[in-house]
């Protein structure tokens, strides 16, 4: 039981997909302009990650190892299509905001990475916990970046103006701001590591 909990926790801190493994960088940088977008992307990716982890760990005996990568990609793409259709129907404004990055969840390296490194070697329940932990780690880090950029770049939190007396720094809402915030976060994390 203890080791199963470790599978869950490792994604959140010790093996955080963005800060430690440096995976899934494209969606991280592109959709973190606001907390809302970041959370939407994080939850969608978490859903796909959990579902594909479960399905791949179930079918791992039947997938021949030579065609495993294409098989994983098709499984992942199926769940991404589900997310795409559901989001377009029920959250059209979010779908418009995330735009091209919704279909691009397919090539989010976190998902294929976990399928290859974890789900193809472990049981269904462990894979579920791994997917959940990694998903939460991804969503949390993404939301942090989204929050920082929304406050600094637009002077808002969740679309509501912050009652602070300062002029928003536009560059944080633009692409360079994303790279800068993530670079500084990685540097802070690296400073905290043991020598």
């Amino acid at each position: 039981m203890k080791s199963l909990m470790a599978e869950f926790y490792k994604g959140i801190f010790k093996e955080n997909p963005i800060l430690v493994l440096a995976l899934g960088l494209c969606p991280t940088l592109a959709v973190s302009t606001s907390l809302q977008n970041a959370l939407g992307m994080g939850l969608s990716a978490t859903f796909v990650l959990i579902c594909s982890n479960i399905l791949i760990s179930m079918f791992k005996r039947f997938i021949p190892s030579r065609v495993r990568i294409p098989s994983y990609i098709v499984i992942i793409a199926t769940f991404v299509t589900i997310v795409e259709l559901v989001m377009e129907a029920y959250l059209p404004s979010l779908y418009k905001q995330l735009g091209i990055f919704v279909p691009l969840i397919v090539v989010n390296c976190i998902i294929l990475g976990r399928a290859e490194a974890f789900a193809s070697r472990n049981g269904v329940f462990a894979s579920f916990l791994d997917g959940l932990g990694m998903g939460i780690g991804f969503t949390f880090t993404l939301s942090m970046i989204g929050l920082i950029r929304e406050v600094l770049g637009a002077g808002k939190i969740w679309g509501y103006p912050v009652s602070l007396d300062f002029v928003p720094v536009l560059v944080f809402a633009l692409p360079p701001g994303a790279l800068l915030v993530l670079g500084l976060m990685l540097a802070i994390k690296q400073a905290g590591d043991k020598k």
């Binding site: 494209c26 940088l29 800068l180 670079g183 690296q190």
Partner: protein, 199 residues
Amino acid sequence: MTAKIFSLFVLNVFTANFILFRFLGMCPFIGVSRRKHPAFFMSLAVIFVMVFSSIITWALYNYILLPNGLEYMRTVSFILVIASAVQMIDMVMLKTMPALHRTLGIYLPLITTNCAVLGVTVLNIDMFVKDGKAISGGFLFSVLQGLFAGLGFMVAMMIMSGIRERLDVIDLPRPFRGIPIAFIVAALLSLSFMGFNGL
């Protein structure tokens, strides 16, 4: 026509550079940009895959998916096309150009999960198919967009790998060594590429 092609070139290579503005293909950009030589061959392979998959996915979408009302199969079918294109290039290269194949080796299969490739094919459909009908010259524009997006990828890769080769010999503060400084450099590059907006 010529004006439109030129604006497509400026858009994809400079003002909306795939890496520095759209954030597509970030993983190889950080992962393979330590040295100039592999960065160059990686970009060449990416250009090739982008053009090739732009052609195939355009035909697939307009002649098979659209007439049959299968638009929702876009993501699944496009990624399969890209995966098989990469696999095919891998096999052809192994037979005909074994030396180049050895140089590229591990980078080739990684192109499948390079979001810039899927990104350009999806973008082609978003930009050049309006209300379920291809705009005139749409095919030419998508092929060129594939080419220009790849060129933009190459420009960013070459600048970045040139800078990172120099960074290796600089005495940086410990927290910034490795990946963090790469992001800061990319931020400055992205900032300077925004200067092209006036074009």
